[in-house]
Symmetry: D2
Subunit: 338 residues, 4 copies
């Protein structure tokens, strides 16, 4: 049994609190901290058995009863708090992205190098999604042979509000970053080169923020496979999350999850349900699974399923994507190291 | 918040304990009782916060802190314990079937008539399954017009062991009873007449117990719709649970749930996953939902979603099915009242 | 190359003329006959290369150039013309049903016994449908093991006009007769016993003609399998033609054909196309294939794929179905021999 | 009724001969010509009613009875023969590509400008495919709003032999050219810019010919939509031909055609059929439809459905694709005019 402290009690912090309480056997949340802690959040936490409620996350880091922390604070604090926690001897689960700057992620890498016992996991929860995990499993089992072409479709049901876009780092670092990690996960490879063709087709207000809302992103993976991601900030039929891995021996493809399998046939046609509404519905089970595997790694000292390398890769790919748009050319990932 | 006592801690009692603990907000399990209570079960219950562990269910009935009981004991005790609980002033959730004998269910009806404040729910959990509920919803919304033909396919992945078959009351009262209730639920109607064509095709040992393992069951519903259930005790591809309601304006049909939507295309064909293994996998969420609705009815004093009428109907249909096989003729449900 | 004469130039006679002209290599239609031959039909036939146009079918039977005839006249003349054609030394393709009366089909059997060189095929075209043939193939290949439960869904888009119902022999001999033959084909077995639960739910005018428009038909096959057919004279979404064969090792199931595979996802849902409109659309290719196989049997002297036994079975089953409705009981097929 | 002459009796010439004979009402093939005419081809043509069999296509051009010619000769002769035919006053159906060189297609454009009465159609048969036509129809009907992202998957079951690759102009001008035209057709737009990421993953021998066998091709359309094509020369599960058009109001997507809808469920999974084998199976009906529409345009003097502009566009896009690979950068289509 490991005691966990959650730093940051926004939406995702609450999701993890519930997951651990209800779905992770060998862990419990002992403490939560949030600078904006209010009575509502406190009541919520207490109703789930949390004993220590703080405003200052440093109280969690100082608590010797706590073995692991979840860094769910705002993105700009992820790296700094992670380093503090590593140095305080805690295992760390850090929400994505670790940071928008390569330098700051490198600092985390260095802290980890100095604390090899620390289990450090990045919150790419979609790797634990039942559908995407099944694609990877088919690949690992050799059912599709060597990877040739990966296709990921990732479309949100609604764009975020324009204010959020400004602080989010833009579509590639906020939304596509999950797809970049998924590309690496499904092909079991890193990215070598990227090219982006993008546009503002959903809402001109997004363009006014200097961002795009629609994109086709082509990547060459280091293992030779090609990959393509297509993104849109708004699909009229809801959250569209699919992947298709094509290889020398076959293809593994997923379709969207729905609330039920019911299909109504009538004079209008043969109609099934739209996809589950958004990420909290579609990926809820994956949040539990990533916690179970993080806790297992902490307890066993084994490897975490998503380490700092993945966290660095995804950000570098996102930055390369932005550069590709700015310079209108294919960009090698190695350019990001310069 | 209502305190619940669970009588009978076999497989289904444990399922309900977990559901209430993790998935029902306004209820908690205060006590459990089982004549065969052992340390393993006790540990399991205590790990989920149960404070009172008994061998004798009468201790639960006598506890004034407990507002509702779940009757999860062996089928032959359902009716008697339910009546005791009703008379002790508890709300009652009774597992299916209430009993194999119409007379004993009538006794429960009488006890309920004498205690009108009692909320009494029967454990037909499949009514709360996302797929079947979606069929009924489509019907209620008028998307398929008046019900003409209902088709239910219900096949188990494996037959029970022969010893169980003897005490189970046979396929119709043990397995098909869920489908009988589903037929009433989906057409929102009772059964008027039934005819069964059955066979022993899966395992001769089942026939030696005087039971059948394969059947096609035709029913005329009181609202004029026709219904057919096809049953098998063993589907090589797993648990097959589908329904299709055809009406004057269209059809609502469900397919099986699977662990993922992944489809592998290769030289052998285009292959998706088999259905979820068995009822604990397929119907797990429905067990939580039936508890939520039971607790809500207890708290609000509103109507339970599955009352004693449904419990009586399903047993009468099952007994009529047996009579149809014995006498090789259509049997009217009114014959069961004689 | 065999010369063919078509007797009866109604809708189905014209279909066969086109099939043979365009899709059957080793045959040509030399002559057509119809008592109501008009200039439109004559022009149509001539445009497809037919050289001899008659009112009287006896001219076809007398023509030594003609090797095979298709009997596409009205049902009440099928048996008599078939016998004449057999005795005239022609091979015969007879549309279904051969007749409504067992006695008259027996007379055809006798004529065939006296002319063993005659290839006599009955027009159960659905056996040649790509979907149903694929179910049978899966069964023959052992992919689903021994047959346990066959399910056929057969629903028309619209009922025929009431006037036709009167002369058609009723739903079982007109519409379901195809499904009866399909049940025998897919299980590779005859019927032992039948029970029908039926109703008038589509149109009271059909009931006024003494017919039904909705039915669930249960059969026990001679090989032990159970079978069920559900019929409706009107499906709001169109022509619904599906089959599902469940066996000891698995299941083979078909869905409906559509004009395209396109699926539109939008705010309303995920919508595919309705089934192909009616039998001329859905089964067009099967009409060509039955002709090819008939011509092959004539040319090679090999066995026809659908012989007089199938023609007799389907009618007996249809008559037993009517008796089951009248007497409200299961009826053995052997009763039809009395 | 129009008389047609077919120039070139290779595989595609024979396909058109059959289509016109069996499936086009108001046309007949009067003459065929092929420099390698042999007795087998002659017999085939005569069996379908062709009266004039030539080695020299000029005899067809000189024949006043012939109103339209199909140019099905080798690609390097398409443009020259087309021009001769135009000048001889014939309507022309020219197989794709019109040529590999922009200059030569311009010469055809000029000939057409000088003969405005000539109906000139290019053989992009896939526009007439039932699935792709249904996507375009959904778009035209406004069911998916404005086009945002088009995705085309196009994979062959087997690569051509290496010798063919050399003369074919490479994958982009031989195979992808159909997809380029499809991109223009489905978005109802031209291409503005293209970027190709490609690889040799299927067979090194293809790379040795200087060609690629796997590619992801991104395009910006002139109407602002983005488009992506993924190609492979070998899909282990067969011919994979899908398209998905995503827009402001929804998405229209197609799946592959199969020989039947049968799905077998057994211990291995739930398995449907592989796609139809190759283009002759999948697109056979589209060859008939393009002929019907060509003949209609010739007869009515109306517009052809696929004119010289489409023929030019597809070649320019293919050449731009090659340039993008060579120069490893996005290429504007306007560069092809230089």
């Amino acid at each position: 049994m490991i005691n966990i402290g959650i730093i940051g009690m926004g939406r995702i912090g609450k999701v993890h609190l519930q997951s651990i309480t209800y779905h992770v056997k060998n862990a419990c949340v002992l403490a939560v901290a949030d600078p904006f802690m209010n009575s509502e959040t406190e009541d919520f936490a207490r109703s789930l058995g949390v004993k220590k409620i703080y405003k200052d996350y440093k109280e969690i880091l100082a608590d010797p009863e706590i073995g692991a922390v979840l860094v769910c604070s705002s993105t700009d604090t992820h790296a700094a708090i992670s380093i503090e926690a590593i140095e305080a001897g805690k295992h760390v689960f850090c929400e994505k992205p670790v940071d928008h700057a390569v330098e700051k992620i490198k600092a985390v890498e260095e802290a980890l190098a100095a604390h090899p016992q620390c289990r450090f996991q990045v919150g790419f929860n979609r790797r634990f999604d039942h559908n995407f995990a099944a694609v990877r499993k088919a690949y690992d089992e050799g059912r599709i042979g060597e990877a040739h072409v990966l296709k990921i479709t990732s479309r949100d049901p609604e764009p975020p509000n324009p204010a959020y876009i400004k602080v989010s780092g833009g579509m590639f670092l906020d939304m596509t970053i999950h797809d970049f990690d998924m590309a690496c996960f499904l092909t079991n490879s890193d990215v070598e080169e990227i090219y982006v063709q993008s546009a503002v087709l959903v809402d001109p207000a997004i363009g006014e923020q200097g961002d795009v809302d629609t994109a086709i992103i082509t990547m060459k993976m280091t293992n030779g496979a090609l990959a393509v991601i297509d993104n849109s900030r708004r699909a009229a039929y809801g959250y569209d999350q699919r992947a298709e891995l094509f290889g020398s021996k076959g293809m593994a493809a997923t379709s969207n999850d729905t609330l039920s399998t019911v299909v109504v046939s009538n004079a209008e046609g043969v109609t099934g349900e739209k996809p589950l509404f958004f990420f909290l519905e579609r990926y809820m089970e994956s949040f539990s699974e990533e916690m179970r595997q993080f806790v297992d790694a902490c307890e066993s000292g084994g490897q975490v399923p998503v380490g700092i390398h993945a966290g660095m890769q995804a950000v570098k790919i996102g930055l390369a994507a932005k550069k590709s748009v700015e310079e209108h050319r294919p960009v090698k990932l190695s350019e990001m190291d310069a």
